[in-house]
Amino acid sequence: MIADLLIVAAIVALALPVVLARSAFTAVALFVAYGLLLAFAWVRLDAVDVALTEAAIGAGLSGVLLLGAARRLAGGPPVEDAPPGKAQVALIGVGCAGLAVALGAVILALPDPAPSLAEPVMANIAAIEVGNPVTAVLMGFRGLDTLLEAAVLVLAVVALWALAPDAAWGAAPGWRQPPATDGPLALLARVLPPIGVVVAVHILWVGADAPGGKFQAAAILAAMWLLPWMAGIAAPPPISRAWLRIVIAAGPVAFILAGFAGSVLQGAFLAYPPGYAKAVIIAVEVVLTASIAVALALLVLGPPAEDRGA
């Protein structure tokens, strides 16, 4: 209870200045701290799977992405329209506060006891053959959503690359990093990835029966893959590389093929053969992890940029 209130107070104390910050860089630093605290909120909500994801993506990958953007925009961020007037700001403020209050009131008015699918999930989890109920939902009961989300990530990579300048097409993704430095940074970038890969494999493996799984493992792998590039001791592969594109596509393709196998063998898309459900799920998850990791890393890097050759 006290811990909850402490976390809530800290999160609000960070979120407000993010919105009001004068410089983008300050706002991003605040935002990274906010992401870390959010992970605690998820632990307190008994959502350790989500806490893992939030720590990896919310605080880690997002932080790196946004810090990079803030640095590049430091010269003068693009301003779109004229800023709203004082009266307008006040009006929007009242409106947003009203929405927040209404939302809070409605949350207090949610039915008690809460309707839930926890029981049907546990009653049927044996057929999915995994111990972690969240994984059972992701890969079993709502497998279609997960499959399509994996496709969304592939689409996001296509969309990102579509934003490249024509002159840079086919080149390596991302902006040119400052030249390599020897010393602690380069050392870290050499030492950390092997450890990270082991941790990622562990998180993926336990994910079948305990909190963890492909998204979390993929986020860690992506971070470890990015490290040497960020430290300037290695360069990412050009986006025209065939293997890169094949790895990104492999996960969703494997998932879709598993789905059609269910159509043929079991009479329903994404139905797993009894006794082999866990084997199929883990096989698909391993391929998916590789695809998602590469996709996430490429999304952080951004499209190929023109200043690379300059």
Partner: protein
């Protein structure tokens, strides 16, 4: 109890994020505000999940699974928005 507290936090974050999205003109700050807003939405969902504890589980796994995929997609959206803003800034630099 935790569910209610964090649900209300989610509501507050939705208000804060929406305010930032509508009032700020700096594109990067808008992206941050969008992420605050998204975090608030996920917390509301998380509160709903926690309230749905049952069958020996501390929380309803269905909304938790939805939040997981939601976080990944929100991240992808953020990367696209950032890339677009950077590209636009580069285009403006060239005049």
């Amino acid at each position: 109890m935790s569910a209610t507290i964090f649900g209300l936090l989610g509501a507050a974050l939705v208000g804060i994020g929406l305010f930032g999205l509508l009032v700020r003109r700096d594109a990067l700050l808008r992206i941050l505000a969008f992420n605050l807003l998204g975090g608030g939405v996920f917390l509301v969902f998380g509160a709903v999940a926690r309230r749905g504890a049952g069958a020996g589980l501390p929380a309803d796994p269905v909304p938790q699974a939805i939040i997981l995929t939601g976080i990944v997609v929100a991240f992808a959206a953020t990367t696209l928005a950032v890339a677009l803003v950077l590209r636009l800034a580069a285009a403006k630099d060239r005049g």
